[in-house]
């Protein structure tokens, strides 16, 4: 229903951005230890989105030692004859293998919030066709199913509250004292991506891509492109990417008019048709090989969204300015409808975000430390900081474990509030969406990856996610103090990934 729901966890929500910047071409030039695949910065959409591709060093071949061969074989005799002819032994045993033409990265992800809130099951398939001369075609498919309940924006009351569903065709009631949740959420999303990447001459690389997704109330169409160039004997890569998207909201039951009151079941006087949103993302970045063991990347990104940026399913309680209690409402005789006064939210029709991102990968005797930091600021006054740490620890040649820790914190949007005061002048914008509030989030987990004899790679990852927020004291009125709290969230994430080539 709403793609940004899980953004704060940093998993599925990244897909949109990642597909825009997927082929930023920030490709580390492999040297020495840096040549190891676990030292590469991942840029594939699926990898960037779910961080879960297993890398192993791909020593290609079975090396054949002449001494080990049957002395009666033709090849052993031939090796001896060649050795006398050339007067030398071969410098290195042959290492040659057929290049896989298709690479498949698949992943099944479960994200589940506690207390019957959102559950998401997502299947990702990314297929890459490799051509000669480093050209490649990438096709991606994601299918997502979302179910569960999510806070609708209204505050708690000591009495039961009744709400008209977004469809306008029925109503639901939340018991007194409980956080009002809308349990209508049920959605299936299908998304596709198509990308083409190719070198331009010796040092330049370019990519173009298309992305599209469809769910029953939301359609996304996007185009992206990137260009990168290597410098400094390929120790430096500078890249730039641009992505544009046009999204269409077609909310169930129509798009609510800004601050319109929630009406009785069957009354659609507060709704209009579909709305659109345009997004431009631009990224510039540099990847630098610092030493044999250290690789760093710095990015600056700019994002501008314009159009309908409001969540059509969220609203605010209209409260008494002294008590903080929601104004009661009595539906007309025979009608079913809201028990209190609720007003649909309204957000600015433009948002500009800027972020700085730094990532470092450090190799230490087989182990790889991957650390990153992101600072994001936008003109809704949301500032966020993200620190992400991973340590990949090999367990023998064919498997590894990787602990992961992530910390996220953000300040609230300037129009974030808890309720609207009855009789007071309406603000220009207001939203009680908890995702626009002030909160911290921690993700902690462990991944185990292994490789089969036939070269297939698998991994399983389990993580917990905890989001704790606070409501600024000056937003609480009267009885809301002590009763209204930020809707904290606990979730688990389990993911199975499978990579194979053919």
């Amino acid at each position: 229903m709403n793609r940004t729901r899980i953004v704060s966890v940093g998993i599925v929500g990244l897909v949109t951005l990642a597909s825009g910047c997927s082929s930023m071409g920030v490709e580390p030039w492999e040297r020495d230890i840096l040549a190891k695949e676990e030292m590469q910065l991942t840029t594939d959409p699926i990898e960037a989105a779910i961080d879960d591709h297993i890398y192993f060093s791909t020593a290609v071949t079975e090396c054949t030692s002449m001494a080990d061969k049957n002395p009666k074989s033709v090849s052993a005799a031939l090796a001896a004859a060649t050795c006398s002819l050339l007067g030398s032994v071969p410098a290195a045993p042959v290492q040659a293998a057929e290049e896989p033409t298709w690479d498949f990265n698949t992943a099944l992800l479960y994200y589940g919030e506690d207390n019957d809130r959102v559950q998401d099951l997502s299947l990702n398939i990314l297929a890459r066709r490799n051509y000669v001369d480093d050209r490649s075609l990438t096709l991606g498919l994601t299918v997502d199913t979302l179910t569960g309940a999510t806070p609708n924006g209204a505050i708690r009351q000591n009495v039961p509250q009744t709400f008209t569903r977004p469809s306008g065709s029925s109503a639901y009631t939340v018991p007194g004292g409980e956080l009002p949740l809308d349990d209508t959420f049920k959605d299936t999303r299908a998304a596709i991506t198509v990308g083409w990447e190719q070198p331009l001459g010796r040092l330049w690389k370019t990519s173009i891509g298309f992305s599209g997704s469809r769910e029953y109330d939301y359609t996304h169409l996007g185009l992206n492109g990137s260009l990168s160039r290597d410098f400094n004997k390929r120790n430096t890569t500078v890249s730039a990417g641009l992505a544009v998207a046009h999204d269409i909201w077609d909310p169930v039951g129509g798009t609510p008019v800004a601050f319109a009151p929630m009406l009785d079941v069957g009354d659609t006087g507060n709704k209009t048709g579909s709305e659109t949103k345009d997004i431009i993302d631009a990224v510039i970045g540099v990847t630098q090989v610092i030493s044999r063991r250290l690789l760093v990347q710095l990015n600056y990104s700019f994002s501008n969204s314009s159009g309908y940026l409001t969540d059509p399913y969220k609203f605010l309680s209209l409260v008494d300015g002294a008590t903080g209690e929601t104004i009661p409402r009595v539906p007309p005789p025979g009608a079913e409808g809201p028990s209190h006064e609720f007003r649909f939210e309204n957000r600015p029709d433009e948002r500009t975000k800027q972020s700085l991102y730094g990532q470092a990968k450090y190799y230490m005797g087989g182990k790889v430390l991957d650390a990153s930091y992101r600072y994001m600021t936008d003109d809704w006054e949301i500032d966020s900081h993200t620190v992400d740490l991973r340590l990949r620890w090999p367990l023998g040649e064919y498997s590894y474990i990787e602990p992961h820790f992530r910390f996220y914190t953000q300040s609230e949007a300037d129009f974030y509030t808890i309720s609207l005061v009855d009789g007071a002048e309406l603000p220009a914008f207001a939203s009680a969406d908890y995702r626009l509030g002030n909160f911290d989030a921690i993700t902690a987990g462990l991944k185990y990856g292994w490789k089969t004899r036939s070269g297939k790679e698998m991994s399983i990852r389990a993580e917990i996610y905890q989001q704790d927020g606070t409501i600024p004291g000056d937003l609480l009125i009267g009885n809301q103090v002590g009763r209204e709290t930020y809707p904290d969230l606990d979730a688990i994430i389990v993911q199975f990934s499978y990579h194979f080539s053919r």
């Binding site: 002449m66 061969k69 060649t82 002819l85 050339l86 030398s88 410098a91 040659a96 057929e98 290049e99």
Partner: protein, 302 residues
């Protein structure tokens, strides 16, 4: 080995993450891929490679009357004393003759007098083949290093060894001359001097059918070692619906039956790759069985 190209020039172009040196030798386009940012080094290595390739071509081409091969072929059965390098190649040819039960024979070149694989339908009569066959057979020559004596009318042709030998020689010289990874590619027969640093592997496209099927171009990733391809699907005769491959069995003087159109083999050196692919082709229908028995990596096109 073909005639020396009239224009013996080299050129160096910028490739993807490497320089590419180009020249012609042994009737093949020759390519030197140098993983370096240094154009001067690339030019120097290409020059060294071309000089060695041309030296080998001049010395062993059967089209040049004045060289050692021309000398041997024109002296009408009289013994000839050869230099060390030629002696090593003749020793090698003798070993291959023994290893292949006589299928590989550097004296089989005279069969071209009756067989002309021009895509036409001219099949020689049995008598003509038998006549020529009297002048074929390593077992008919006297080889006591360093003295070779052919019988009158016999000829040797080192074309079946020369190109692969040249690739290995050049790779050996370039490996000493430069620390970076270099690919020596003479018309599809190639060797890598050492594993590349800035890429996982060199990518080599071959026209072949993989073991798992699927025609078209297969891309191989080569980090070290060599590849060579034998066979040529364009050289054959077609008569009464029968396809005659250009691979002749020197024991019968007739084309090998059931020979694959091409066989690519990966081995430590280009010489080994080339000989294994040649021997496989000479096995005809049993090419794959032979290669499977040798436990080498190969790609066969039928």
């Amino acid at each position: 080995m073909g005639a020396p190209d009239s224009a013996r020039a080299i050129s160096v172009e910028a490739g993807q993450g490497c320089f590419v040196g180009l020249f012609d030798a042994m009737a093949s386009p020759c390519e030197i891929l140098i993983e370096s940012e240094d154009r001067e080094l690339a030019t120097r290595l290409t020059r060294t490679a071309a000089d060695e390739a041309w030296r080998i071509e001049d010395k062993f081409s059967r089209y040049l009357p004045g060289n050692v091969v021309g000398c041997i072929n024109s002296c009408d059965g009289k013994p000839v004393e050869v230099d060390e390098e030629t002696a090593s190649l003749l020793d090698f040819a003798a070993t291959l003759h023994a290893l292949s039960d006589g299928r590989f024979d550097i004296t089989s070149g005279v069969l071209r007098e009756v067989w002309s694989f021009d895509g036409g339908d001219h099949i020689p009569d049995r008598e003509a083949v038998s006549d020529v066959l009297q002048r074929v057979g390593w077992n008919r020559v006297s080889w006591r290093r360093p003295v070779l004596a052919l019988q009158p009318g016999m000829e040797i042709d080192l074309g079946g060894i020369g190109k692969e030998y040249a690739v290995d020689r050049v790779a050996g010289i370039l490996s000493e001359a430069a620390a970076c990874s270099v690919v020596v590619n003479f018309g599809g027969d190639l060797a890598v001097t050492r594993p590349p640093q800035q890429r996982r592997a060199w990518r080599v496209g071959i026209e072949a059918v993989s073991a798992t099927g699927g025609k078209g171009e297969t891309v191989l990733q080569v980090r070290s070692g060599a590849l060579a391809t034998s066979g040529d699907s364009r050289r054959f005769l077609l008569k009464d619906g029968v396809r005659y491959s250009h691979i002749l069995d020197p024991r019968s003087g007739w084309p090998v039956e059931g020979a694959p159109r091409s066989v690519t083999v990966a081995a430590d050196t280009c010489t080994e790759s080339g000989m294994l692919s040649t021997l496989a082709i000479l096995e005809g229908y049993n090419a794959e069985t032979f290669l499977d028995g040798e436990e080498v990596k190969y790609w066969c096109r039928r």
